[in-house]
C-alpha cells in the first residue's frame, strides 16, 4: 500500500485523467458487449460469461468487494465499500473517492443494462457452482439504477469535484422505481393538499385533481358490507384513488407482517460457506494475478532508503541504544540521622508481620494434625472467616507430589489490601495473670468459728419446709412445712418432740425472742396461731399460760381488722393458745425483740392493710400504714431502736414507729427482694433477692448497698444474721448455704470486712427448690437450714 499510496500521491492528477479515459473506454466496450444478450434473451451462457469478465475487473478494483459479497444486503455493502474507500483514500482527497464512485456507478449501470436478461438467470441453478458470484449478482439486482440520464447527472456532479454522499446517490438510482407515478409533489405529507381540489402536479406541471369522492359513512358501511374485496382495498394517497391489492401483494403484506422476507424464494438459511478458513486450499480464492506494480521496486522507497543509508554513513543517525530499564540504586540511608525523624514517624505503626506457619501447614505434618472426616466436613461448612485453620492440612508422601498452592496469589493480594486498607492501631496487650485478679482475702482458717460440716439432719417432714426458728435458749427448734404440720425438735439430738397438725401449709414460724415466755407464732392460711409448745422449763410454760389467761377485755371494744380468739378443745391440748384470723393469707410473722409485738405480712398490692402489728399482751392489732407503697415482701423490727423495716420488691423502707415517719429508703439494686435480716447491732441490713444477689447495707453509710454479693447461682430464699458472731448466712435455690464473715470495725476508717468463709451443701434440689430458710443458733456458731427436700440440717 505504501508504494501504491506514495505513487498515487505523486501523480494523482495525472492518474485521474488517465483512469477516467480508461473507464470511458471500458464503458463503451461493455455497452457493446451487453447488447448481445439484449437481443438474445435465451443466451444465458453468454450473459453469464460477460458477467464473469466484469466480475474479474470488479475484483481487481478492490478485494473488499469479495468480502462484502458475503453479506446479505446489497445496499449495505455499497455503503461499506464506500466507507472503506474513504478510509483508504483519505490522503488522495476528493479525486480518489470520486474515482471509486465512478467505478461503482459503472458497475451499477452495467447491471441495470443487463438486468432484463440476467435477472432470471441469476437465480437459475446454473449459477450455483459459483456461489460467490451468484450472491454478487443478487446484490447487484437489489441495487437498481436509473437510466442514462442519471448516469450523466452523476458524472457531471463528479466532475464538479463534489463528494457525493451515498444516500443521495442511492436516491437518484431509486427514482427509476417511481417512474410511473404521475404526481410530482415528491415525498411530502399529503395532508398539505387536504384543502385543495387537486392532489399534485403531473409531469407537465398540470394539476391532478382529486377523484370525486362523495362517500359518507353510510356509503362506506354499505361498501364494507357489499364489497367482498373491501378488506384488500387501500387508498393510494398520492392519487387519491382506491387500489385493490392483488393476491401476490396481499401475500407480501402478510409475509412482511410476520417478519419474513418479502421474496418468497429467498432462502435465509443458506449454508454458510467459509471461504477464508484455516484450511489451506490448493487453489487461491481469487484468481486475480498480481499487479504489475507489485513487481517493480518502489522508487520512493528506494529514495527514502537511500537517504537513510546516507545519513547512517555520514554518522547522522546512530543505532538506538538499548534502553537500560534497570533503576539505579545508591546508598539511600547514607546520611541517616535518627534525630531527624519526623513527627509523622513517631506515630508510625509498623505493619504486623504475617503469621508464621505451624506444623499443620507442613507438606508432611504429624498425623494428628490432619483433620478427621467430621472435622473436615465442619471445616468446609464454616465461613472462610470463621475457620480456625486457613487451609486444609494435607499429607504428601514425598516432595515431588506437592502441587502448586492455588490461592498463593490471592493471599499475596489480600496481604497487599491489608497493608494499605486496614486501619492500624497500637494495642497494648496486657498480659493479665488471672491469679492477680482474684482479690486477696484473709484466709477462712483465720476467721473461725463458723459452721463447716453438716452434723445433723432433722427428718420427718413429708413436704418442703418453709420456715424454721430456734428458741431463744437454743435448745429447741421449730419448723413449719407444706404438709400442714409444725414440728418441734431438740436441737442436740435431732429428735422430733412434738408434731402439731395445724390444718394448712405453714408459711412461717417464729419463736418469741423473750426468754421469759415460751410462745411460737405460726402462720397458715389466713390465721396466725400463738402456741405454747410445752417444752422446757415448767415455770416459763406456766408463766406463758398465765400471760395469756390474765388478759382482761377492755371496756371499749375497738373495731379491729383481726379477730382474736382463744383456742379450745383439742387445739388447746396441742398447745395452741390464741388464734388470730386475718382478712388474707399471712406470709410472714416476726417478733419484736421484746417479745410482745408481732408483725404479720399479708402481701397484696391492692390493699392498704398489708402489714399489721399485734400486741399480744393487750390483744390489740394496729395497721401502721395508711398508704400502700407496693407489695410488701417481708418486714422486720429493729432489735434496739423503735424502727420498723419494710421490704417491698425493690426497696427497703425504714420507719420510725414513734415519730410515725419514714426515716430511710434503701435502694437494694435488686429486681425482687425475697428476704431480709438485720444485724443485732442494728447498723447493718442484708437483703436476699430472687435475682441471685445479696445486698449488704451499712445504714450509717448510705442508702445504697455497700457490697453486692453474687455468689449464689440461683435465687436466694433466706438470709440470717448470727446474734453474737460476725456471721451471716444465705440459702439459695442452688441447694447451698453460704456463710460469710461480715465484720464491721469500730474504727470508721477501716473498711468492713466481708468474706465468704464456707459453702455448705447438703440439701438436694427438689422441684427446682433448694434451701428455703436459714437460721443461726443463738449462742453457738451453728446454722440451721430447711430445704425443699423436707429436711432441716444443722451445720456446725
Amino acid at each position: 500500500m505504501s508504494a501504491r499510496g506514495a505513487a498515487a500521491e505523486r501523480n494523482s492528477g495525472m492518474k485521474k485523467t488517465t483512469e477516467k479515459r480508461k473507464n470511458r473506454e471500458k464503458e463503451e466496450q461493455q455497452q457493446e458487449e451487453e447488447e448481445l444478450p439484449m437481443f438474445d434473451k435465451n443466451a444465458d451462457k453468454v450473459g453469464h460469461l460477460d458477467d464473469t469478465d466484469e466480475e474479474k475487473e470488479d475484483l481487481s478494483d478492490s478485494e473488499e468487494s469479495v468480502f462484502s459479497g458475503l453479506e446479505d444486503s446489497g445496499t449495505d455493502d455499497d455503503d461499506d465499500e464506500e466507507d472503506d474507500g474513504d478510509d483508504d483514500d483519505d490522503d488522495d482527497g476528493d479525486d480518489a473517492s470520486g474515482e471509486e464512485e465512478e467505478e461503482q456507478d459503472e458497475e451499477n449501470h452495467n447491471k441495470v443494462e443487463k438486468d432484463p436478461a440476467a435477472g432470471e438467470t441469476s437465480l437459475t441453478p446454473q449459477t450455483e457452482d459459483k456461489p460467490a458470484k451468484s450472491r454478487k449478482l443478487k446484490k447487484k439486482k437489489s441495487v437498481t439504477s436509473g437510466g442514462d440520464e442519471e448516469e450523466e447527472r452523476g458524472k457531471s456532479e463528479r466532475d464538479s469535484g463534489l463528494k457525493i454522499s451515498s444516500q443521495v446517490d442511492e436516491y437518484e438510482q431509486d427514482t427509476s422505481d417511481e417512474e410511473d407515478i404521475r404526481n410530482t409533489v415528491g415525498n411530502i405529507p399529503m395532508e398539505w393538499y387536504k384543502d385543495f381540489p387537486h392532489i399534485g402536479y403531473d409531469l407537465d406541471g398540470k394539476k391532478i385533481f382529486k377523484p370525486i369522492r362523495s362517500k359518507d359513512e353510510l356509503d362506506e358501511f354499505l361498501e364494507k358490507m357489499e364489497n367482498p374485496d373491501y378488506w384488500r382495498t387501500v387508498q393510494d394517497k398520492m392519487t387519491g384513488s382506491d387500489v385493490r391489492l392483488s393476491d401476490e401483494q396481499v401475500d407480501l403484506v402478510h409475509r412482511l407482517q410476520h417478519g419474513k422476507f418479502g421474496d418468497i424464494n429467498f432462502n435465509e438459511y443458506e449454508p454458510a460457506i467459509d471461504f477464508f478458513s484455516n484450511e489451506v486450499m490448493i487453489h487461491p480464492v481469487t484468481n486475480r494475478p498480481e499487479d504489475k506494480r507489485s513487481f517493480i521496486p518502489s522508487l520512493i522507497e528506494k529514495e527514502k532508503v537511500g537517504k537513510l543509508v546516507h545519513a547512517i554513513k555520514m554518522g547522522w543517525i546512530k543505532p538506538r541504544r538499548p534502553k537500560d530499564s534497570a533503576p539505579l540504586y545508591y546508598d539511600l540511608w547514607a546520611k541517616e540521622d535518627p534525630n531527624s525523624i519526623l513527627g509523622r514517624h513517631k506515630m508510625h505503626v509498623p505493619a504486623p508481620k504475617i503469621r508464621l506457619p505451624g506444623h499443620e501447614e507442613s507438606y508432611n505434618p504429624p498425623p494428628e494434625y490432619l483433620l478427621t472426616e467430621e472435622e473436615r466436613l465442619t471445616w468446609e461448612q464454616q465461613d472462610p472467616e470463621e475457620r480456625k485453620l486457613s487451609l486444609l492440612p494435607q499429607k504428601f508422601p514425598s516432595l515431588r507430589a506437592v502441587p502448586a498452592f492455588t490461592r498463593f496469589i490471592h493471599e499475596r493480594f489480600e496481604r497487599c489490601l491489608d497493608l494499605y486498607l486496614c486501619p492500624r492501631q497500637r494495642k497494648m496487650r496486657v498480659n493479665v495473670n488471672p491469679e492477680d485478679l482474684i482479690p486477696k482475702l484473709p484466709k477462712p482458717k483465720d476467721l473461725h468459728p463458723f459452721p463447716t460440716t453438716q452434723s445433723l439432719v432433722y427428718r420427718g417432714h413429708s413436704s418442703l419446709v418453709r420456715s424454721i426458728s430456734v428458741a431463744p435458749g437454743g435448745q429447741w427448734l421449730v419448723s413449719g412445712s407444706d404438709d400442714g404440720t409444725v414440728r418441734f425438735w431438740e436441737v442436740a439430738t435431732a429428735r422430733c418432740l412434738k408434731t402439731v397438725e395445724v390444718g394448712g401449709a405453714v408459711k412461717s414460724v417464729a419463736w418469741s425472742p423473750n426468754p421469759a415466755v415460751c410462745l411460737v407464732a405460726i402462720s397458715h392460711g389466713n390465721t396466725v396461731v400463738l402456741m405454747n409448745p410445752g417444752l422446757g422449763d415448767r415455770l416459763i410454760l406456766s408463766a406463758t399460760d398465765q400471760l395469756i389467761s390474765s388478759y382482761e377485755e377492755p371496756t371499749e371494744v375497738k373495731d379491729q381488722p383481726v379477730e382474736w380468739s382463744l383456742a379450745e378443745g383439742t387445739e388447746h391440748q396441742q398447745g395452741q393458745r390464741l388464734i388470730l384470723t386475718h382478712p388474707r393469707a399471712v406470709k410472714q410473722v416476726t417478733w419484736h425483740g421484746k417479745g410482745d409485738y408481732l408483725a404479720c405480712v399479708m402481701p397484696d398490692v391492692s390493699s392498704n392493710v398489708q402489714v399489721v402489728i399485734h400486741q399480744v399482751s393487750k390483744r390489740r392489732t394496729q395497721n401502721p400504714f395508711r398508704k400502700n407503697k407496693g407489695m410488701v415482701q417481708c418486714v422486720s423490727f429493729h432489735p434496739i431502736r423503735p424502727y420498723f423495716f419494710v421490704a417491698t420488691q425493690r426497696h427497703v423502707r425504714v420507719y420510725n414507729l414513734i415519730k410515725q415517719e419514714l426515716t430511710k429508703k434503701l435502694m437494694t439494686n435488686c429486681k425482687w427482694v425475697s428476704s431480709m435480716a438485720i444485724h443485732p447491732g442494728g447498723d447493718n441490713v442484708i437483703c436476699g433477692s430472687y435475682d441471685c444477689r445479696l445486698a449488704w447495707f451499712d445504714l450509717d453509710l448510705s442508702t445504697k448497698p455497700y457490697k453486692m454479693l453474687r455468689h449464689h447461682k440461683k435465687a436466694l430464699r433466706g438470709v440470717a444474721y448470727h446474734r453474737q458472731y460476725p456471721l451471716f448466712a444465705s440459702g439459695s435455690d442452688d441447694g447451698s448455704v453460704i456463710v460469710c464473715h461480715g465484720m464491721v470495725y469500730n474504727d470508721l476508717l477501716q473498711n468492713p470486712l466481708i468474706v465468704p468463709v464456707k459453702v455448705l451443701k447438703g440439701h438436694t434440689i427438689t422441684h427446682d427448690l433448694g434451701v428455703l430458710d436459714v437460721a443461726f443458733h443463738p449462742t453457738q456458731p451453728w446454722v440451721f437450714s430447711s430445704g425443699a427436700d423436707g429436711t432441716v440440717r444443722l451445720f456446725t
Binding site: 530499564s325 506515630m347 506457619p357 493471599e411
Partner: protein
C-alpha cells in the same frame, strides 16, 4: 461565668484525624491515585481510640487517616505533578524509600513482604499480567538477595509448607521471613486487582534494590554484582554486558553460582569469624550451624527443586552440583567419586554408588532446622518420611508438643534415641500405673460414700438399724490432698468476691485456658489412637510374615 463556650469537635482527637474521602478531596486526587500515593508513601489508616469523637458524633463506618500524614502528602511536591505519571514515578523513586523509612533498619524490618512479592513476581510467566521488565527486575533483585544471604550465611530456618517454601534469615539482627512458591505455572485468578499488586511491586522493587545495595555494602561487595570471567560462557560474543545477562533468566543461576565461588574467598567473612569467636557461646552454636554442611558434596537429581536446595545447601557451606544438561552452573558430574550425598526424590534409582547416601530432600530441610546433621537412615530412598515439623513453632508450657519434636530435642541434647517399641511399652506401663492409683483412690471414696448413703436411707425409712459396734478403722488422711482441697476452696470463695468486671475478664481468661487444654488433650488422644492403630497394623503384618 467567663470564657466562651467550647465547641464540640474543634479540638482534641477530632482534629487529629481526617476521613478518607475528606483527605482525598483535600488532595484533589481520584481514589485510584490516592491509593497509589498511599501505597508508595506508606500512609495507612489509623484506628482512633474514640471513634465517635473523631467521627463528630456519628457512628458511621469510616476510615481515618492521621491529619499529619495527609498534610505531609499535601506538602509533597509530587502531588502537584501527579498527572504526569512518569515524572511522578521517577521522582518518587528517589523520594519515597527515604521518607517512608527514615532508617535502614526500619526498611529492613519491612522487607518481608517485599521479598515474598518479588519472589512471586519473578515466577510469573510473561503473560501480560505485568510488564516483562518488572518480572526481570524482580528476578534480578531476588537473586541478588539470595546471593547476599548465601554470602553472609544468615539463613536460619526453612520450612516446606503446602503453600511454598518458607525461609527465615537473620540479617543485621532483624528476623526476616519470606515465602517462595513452588515452581509451577500460576493460574491467575480473575478476582485479583493486579493494579494494586503492580503498585506494590513497584514500591517493593525499589525498596529491595536500595536494601540490597546497602547490604552488599556491608559485605564490601560491589553492587550491582558483575560477572567477572565471561569467557567461560559459550554465549555469542565476548563483550557480554551485564544488561544482556540480566535479560536471560536462565543465565541467572549461573550468575549466582559464579558469585558464590568468589564469595567464599572473600576476606570479610574471616574477619567476621574472628569477631564471632570473641563473642559468647551462643554465637559458637550459630557458627556451627553456619558450617553445617561444610565439606559435604551434594548432587541434586533432576526431579528435586534445584534452586531452593542449591540455595540452602550453599548457605551452609556445601558444594552443590546437578546434571549438566539441566542447567548451566553444574560444577561436577554425578559420576564424581567424592560426592557424599545424592538428593533424590524418586522411589528407587537404577545405578547407585556405594560411597554416597541417597537421601530425600526433606533431610536437608530437617537438618537445617535441627541445626545438626540428622541420621540419614530415616530419609533413604523409598522410605516413609518422618513428619516435617515447622521450625517456627515454639511450644510454651502446656502446649501440645508432637512426639517427633521431643525426639528431636533429645537428639539435640545428645541423647541416643532409644528403640522405639521399648520406649512406647514403658510409657504405656507407667501410664497404666498412674491410672490404677487414681482409680484406687476413687474407689475408696466411692465405697465410703455408698455406705453412708445406705445408712442414711435406712434411717430415713425409719427402720431400726442393726446396732453393732465394729472396731473403727484408722482413716489415713492424705494431708497433702486435704491441703490442696482447702486451697482450692479458698480460691473458689475468693472468686465469689471478685468484682463484676474482674470476674468477666477472669472468666474469659479461664475459658481460653480451658479451651487450650482441651485442644491439647484432643491432640494427645488423637495421636495415641493413631499410634495404636499403626502399631496394630505392624503387628498384623509381622504375624502375617511369620
Amino acid at each position: 461565668m467567663g470564657g466562651l463556650q467550647k465547641k464540640k469537635y474543634e479540638s482534641g482527637s477530632a482534629t487529629n484525624y481526617i476521613s478518607r474521602n475528606k483527605a482525598r478531596k483535600k488532595l484533589c486526587l481520584s481514589l485510584a491515585d490516592f491509593r497509589r500515593l498511599c501505597i508508595l508513601k506508606g500512609v495507612y489508616p489509623h484506628e482512633p481510640k474514640h471513634k465517635k469523637k473523631v467521627n463528630k458524633g456519628s457512628t458511621a463506618q469510616r476510615t481515618f487517616y492521621l491529619l499529619k500524614d495527609i498534610r505531609f502528602l499535601l506538602h509533597e511536591p509530587i502531588v502537584g505533578k501527579f498527572r504526569e505519571y512518569k515524572i511522578f514515578v521517577r521522582k518518587l523513586r528517589k523520594a519515597y524509600g527515604d521518607l517512608q523509612y527514615p532508617t535502614f533498619i526500619d526498611a529492613l524490618r519491612d522487607v518481608d513482604d517485599a521479598l515474598s512479592m518479588c519472589f512471586l513476581f519473578s515466577t510469573f510467566a510473561r503473560t501480560g499480567k505485568c510488564h516483562v521488565q518488572t518480572i526481570q527486575l524482580c528476578r534480578r533483585l531476588s537473586v541478588e538477595w539470595m546471593n547476599y544471604i548465601v554470602t553472609s550465611r544468615s539463613l536460619k530456618k526453612v520450612f516446606l509448607s503446602i503453600k511454598g517454601i518458607y525461609y527465615q534469615a537473620e540479617v543485621l539482627g532483624q528476623t526476616i521471613t519470606w515465602l517462595v512458591p513452588y515452581q509451577f505455572a500460576h493460574d491467575h485468578p480473575t478476582d485479583v486487582d493486579y493494579r494494586v499488586m503492580a503498585t506494590f511491586t513497584e514500591f517493593y522493587t525499589t525498596l529491595l534494590g536500595f536494601v540490597n545495595f546497602r547490604l552488599y555494602q556491608t559485605l564490601n561487595l560491589l553492587y550491582p554484582p558483575k560477572v567477572r570471567d565471561t569467557h567461560t560462557l559459550s554465549a555469542p560474543g565476548s563483550e557480554l554486558t551485564n544488561a544482556y545477562l540480566l535479560q536471560s533468566l536462565a543465565l541467572f543461576h549461573w550468575f549466582l553460582c559464579l558469585i558464590l565461588s568468589f564469595s567464599h574467598l572473600h576476606p570479610c567473612s574471616q574477619e567476621d569469624m574472628e569477631k564471632m569467636e570473641a563473642r559468647v557461646k551462643a554465637q559458637h552454636e550459630q557458627d556451627k550451624q553456619k558450617k553445617l554442611f561444610e565439606g559435604l558434596k551434594f548432587f541434586l537429581n533432576r526431579e528435586v527443586p534445584r534452586e531452593s536446595l542449591a540455595f540452602i545447601l550453599r548457605c551452609f557451606g556445601a558444594q552443590v552440583s546437578w546434571d549438566k544438561s539441566l542447567c548451566i552452573g553444574s560444577t561436577y558430574d554425578a559420576e564424581d567419586e567424592t560426592i557424599t550425598h545424592h538428593i533424590v526424590d524418586r522411589p528407587n534409582m537404577d545405578k547407585q554408588y556405594m560411597n554416597r547416601y541417597y537421601i530425600q530432600p526433606q533431610w536437608v530441610f530437617d537438618s537445617v532446622n535441627a541445626k545438626m546433621l540428622l541420621p540419614v537412615e530415616d530419609y533413604f530412598l523409598g522410605v516413609t518420611l518422618p513428619p516435617h515439623l515447622s521450625p517456627f513453632v515454639e511450644e510454651k508450657e502446656g502446649d501440645y508438643v508432637p512426639p517427633e519434636k521431643l525426639k528431636l530435642l533429645a537428639l539435640q541434647r545428645g541423647e541416643r534415641p532409644v528403640e522405639e517399641d521399648e520406649e512406647d511399652d514403658e510409657e504405656e506401663e507407667e501410664e497404666e500405673d498412674d491410672d490404677e492409683e487414681e482409680e484406687e483412690d476413687d474407689d475408696e471414696e466411692a465405697e465410703e460414700e455408698a455406705k453412708l448413703k445406705e445408712m442414711e436411707e435406712k434411717k430415713s425409712q425409719g427402720k431400726a438399724l442393726p446396732v453393732k459396734v465394729t472396731p473403727g478403722k484408722v482413716k489415713s488422711e492424705n494431708r497433702h490432698r486435704l491441703e490442696q482441697e482447702e486451697k482450692a476452696e479458698e480460691k473458689r470463695l475468693a472468686i465469689m468476691m471478685m468484682k463484676k468486671r474482674d470476674k468477666y475478664l477472669y472468666d474469659k481468661i479461664m475459658f481460653g485456658k480451658k479451651r487450650h487444654v482441651r485442644e491439647t488433650n484432643k491432640m494427645v488422644a488423637k495421636r495415641k489412637a493413631l499410634d495404636e492403630a499403626s502399631k496394630a497394623d505392624r503387628k498384623k503384618k509381622k504375624q502375617k510374615k511369620q
